[in-house]
């Protein structure tokens, strides 16, 4: 694999205050992710998956160690710079979809581009392309409340992908979905991974998701227990 490295974690440690002491949620994590990887953090609840994704996504900073994402040291970014990094470089997908309920599907996807000051015709094209990717172009005018869970998550994928970020972070994206929809959304993301060479990092403990991953990193008590790559067959 000679794709460039886009995420480097060096001795990343995260501690949270817990009463008078501190709780170590991540303990000296050493990991790198390359462009185009389709990988996942796997581990029981409380093992630190979300905490790690938040740091990679520049929503949080490590207590110790260095996290370098798309060439930027997360700890050294100002609030504005980290917002900029997320805006242009990183897409998020959540367990609970988190669509904005008062807006249409179209508006939800377009929002990401409004922050980038892209001209209206270009925005329109990009939004319709993204909805096309997830097979929801015909629901552009619908409100999220009229969609099924699977459809909502596909809108969330379109929203994450519309700005064609280098990196997409998906935190337990299938946790609220039935088996058929789980397969469908991961397949969609896998396809986008191939077509657009987007890097995906999941967090999951869902077997159905795991079977699609090229690389699985097992976390336990805030430490990397195993880092497995699927052999190319």
């Amino acid at each position: 694999m000679d794709n460039p490295i886009i995420v480097t974690l060096e001795k990343v440690t995260k501690r949270f205050p817990a009463g008078k002491t501190e709780f170590t949620a991540l303990n000296k994590i050493e990991l790198t992710f390359r462009k185009g990887e389709f990988s996942g953090l796997v581990g029981p609840s409380g093992s630190g998956k979300t905490t790690l994704l938040n740091i990679i996504g520049s929503l949080d900073c490590p207590s110790e160690g260095v996290a370098t994402v798309l060439g930027k040291n997360i700890s050294s970014l100002s609030h504005k710079e980290s917002a900029e990094l997320r805006n242009y470089g990183i897409g998020f997908i959540f367990q609970t979809y988190n669509l904005l309920p008062v807006y249409s599907v179209y508006d939800n996807v377009e929002f990401a581009l409004l922050l980038q000051k892209i001209s209206a015709p270009k925005r329109r094209k990009a939004v319709m392309d993204a909805l096309e990717w997830v097979g929801l172009a015909d629901r552009a005018k619908s409100r999220p409340s009229t969609l099924s869970g699977g459809e909502c998550q596909r809108v969330a994928i379109a929203r994450a992908m519309v700005k064609r970020p280098a990196l997409v972070l998906a935190d337990e994206p299938s946790a609220n979905l039935d088996s058929q929809n789980s397969h469908m959304i991961v397949q969609t993301m896998k396809r986008l991974n191939r077509e657009l060479n987007t890097t995906f990092i999941f967090s999951t403990h869902d077997e159905k998701v795991m079977q699609y991953l090229d690389r699985i990193i097992y976390l336990k008590d805030g430490m990397v227990e195993r880092d497995e790559r699927k052999s190319e067959d």
Binding site: T50, G57, K80, A83, L100, V102
Partner: protein, 426 residues
């Protein structure tokens, strides 16, 4: 982005309905109360102007020093010359001669013996001239209780209260005792043509209204008058304009005859007893009112904003994740406040304006509350519609909404990005 926010405000009733109701209510109250206040004050000022102060007033310098005493020995001697000069100087203004006097009215019985005497306050105005607006200014026609308007020399109107006290009927005569311009004793016989009820406290006690020619004869003031009043052609007193006219006039007089104590001097309505206070009081009370509404509404809207903010932490979290900065989110909250404040202010102003319009047409009779007042005040109060009526409500409406949201939005700044974001997870 702006369209995106507007859509959110319109579609998210939970975000906009309560604030719009609060803003609209406050705006409406502001508009109504402001118009009510300016109505009372405006009418009072107008009445005072019409009866006593004018909007501009010219006297001799010596008279001006002691004007409340009506020192007619210091009156303007060549009144008509000065009147012509003033009309040339400022043709837009309606200039009128007046004689003011205090005198004793003596009502005789059938034998010509004194039945009773009462102090009277006199207004001698241009009554008989067809083009004069003075009788309209005093609202004389509508104020007559018994009898008719004077048409001949020697006919006057007296207050109905005075007439009742001495059982005087229209057509009966009485004698006025006073002093002449050069300090002599004056007495003059007059006939009551009608009695007056102005419906203004302070005026209805002992007023006598006559034509200026009668007063000139009665007090030996041929060719003279106490004061010349000027009225600007606007509905409400225009202080700036009046001040400007006054300044120019007084400068030109000073340049010619600064030493002469009988030189004319001009003052405005504001310069006269109590009037400046009244004008300023109106401004002051409306400022206090706007301040109170801003504070009260801002507190309500702050809390509303906090509740709305809690409801929207999920939205803020997702927007942060998508790369919006906290500062930008905060600014969009202020922009939303501006939108909601504007919508609420428009709604409130429209409703308020309808109420104001109703009260402007119908008025409210306050005579019961003002029986003992000595001020010249109207007894039927109407709201005033001025240019300010249309925008005054927007000040508390928009300002309180922005203040409320600005305070509520501080919570977003205080929270760490990760915490806002974690609240997404249920």
């Amino acid at each position: 982005m702006k369209r995106f926010l507007l859509k959110g405000v319109i579609k998210d009733k939970g975000r906009s309905l309560l604030p719009i109701i609060v803003v609209a209510t406050g705006t409406m109250l502001t508009v109504v109360m402001y118009s009510w206040l300016t109505g009372i004050m405006g009418d009072s000022i107008r009445m005072n102007a019409n009866f006593n102060t004018g909007e501009l007033k010219v006297m001799t310098k010596a008279y001006a020093a002691d004007a409340e005493q009506f020192p007619n020995d210091l009156a303007i001697l060549n009144a008509d010359t000065l009147l012509v000069e003033l009309k040339e100087f400022e043709p837009e203004v309606d200039w009128v001669k007046r004689i003011r006097f205090g005198a004793l009215a003596d009502f005789p019985d059938a034998n010509g013996e004194t039945r009773g005497q009462a102090p009277a306050v006199g207004w001698a105005i241009d009554l008989f001239n067809e083009e004069s607006k003075e009788s309209a200014r005093f609202n004389l026609q509508e104020s007559i209780v018994q009898g008719v308007m004077p048409v001949n020399t020697g006919e006057v109107l007296i207050s109905d209260e005075l007439a009742r006290r001495f059982e005087v009927k229209p057509g009966e005569s009485f004698t006025l005792f006073g002093s002449t311009m050069d300090g002599g004793f004056a007495f003059y016989n007059l006939t009551v043509s009608g009695t007056l009820l102005f419906g203004a406290t302070g005026l209805d006690r002992g007023a006598i209204v006559m034509d200026i020619s009668d007063a000139q004869k009665a007090f030996g003031m041929e060719g003279a008058c106490s004061e010349i009043l000027g009225f600007l052609p606007y509905t409400y007193f225009n202080s700036d304009k009046a001040e400007a006219i006054k300044t120019i006039y007084n400068q030109s007089v000073d340049a010619r005859q600064s030493e002469d104590e009988f030189a004319p001097v001009m003052i405005t309505l504001r310069d006269q007893a109590g009037m400046a206070e009244m004008v300023e009081y109106t401004d002051f009370v409306s400022r206090i009112m706007v301040f109170i509404f801003v504070s009260a509404m801002a507190i309500v809207l702050w809390n509303g904003g906090l509740l709305g903010g809690l409801r929207r932490y999920g939205e803020f979290g997702i927007r942060l994740a998508m790369g919006e900065s906290k500062g930008h989110i905060y600014r969009t909250l202020l922009f939303e406040a501006l939108l909601i404040g504007t919508i609420g202010s428009i709604v409130g102003t429209v409703i308020g304006f309808l109420i104001v319009l109703y009260l402007n047409i119908h008025g409210v009779d306050m005579s019961g509350m003002m029986q003992n007042s000595t001020m010249v005040m109207p007894t039927v109060v109407r709201t005033a519609i001025t240019p300010t009526t249309y925008y005054i409500g927007f000040i508390p409406g928009i300002f309180s909404m922005i203040l409320g949201n600005a305070l509520a939005g501080v919570g977003i700044y205080k929270r760490e990005t990760a915490r806002l974001f974690n609240e997404l997870e249920v």
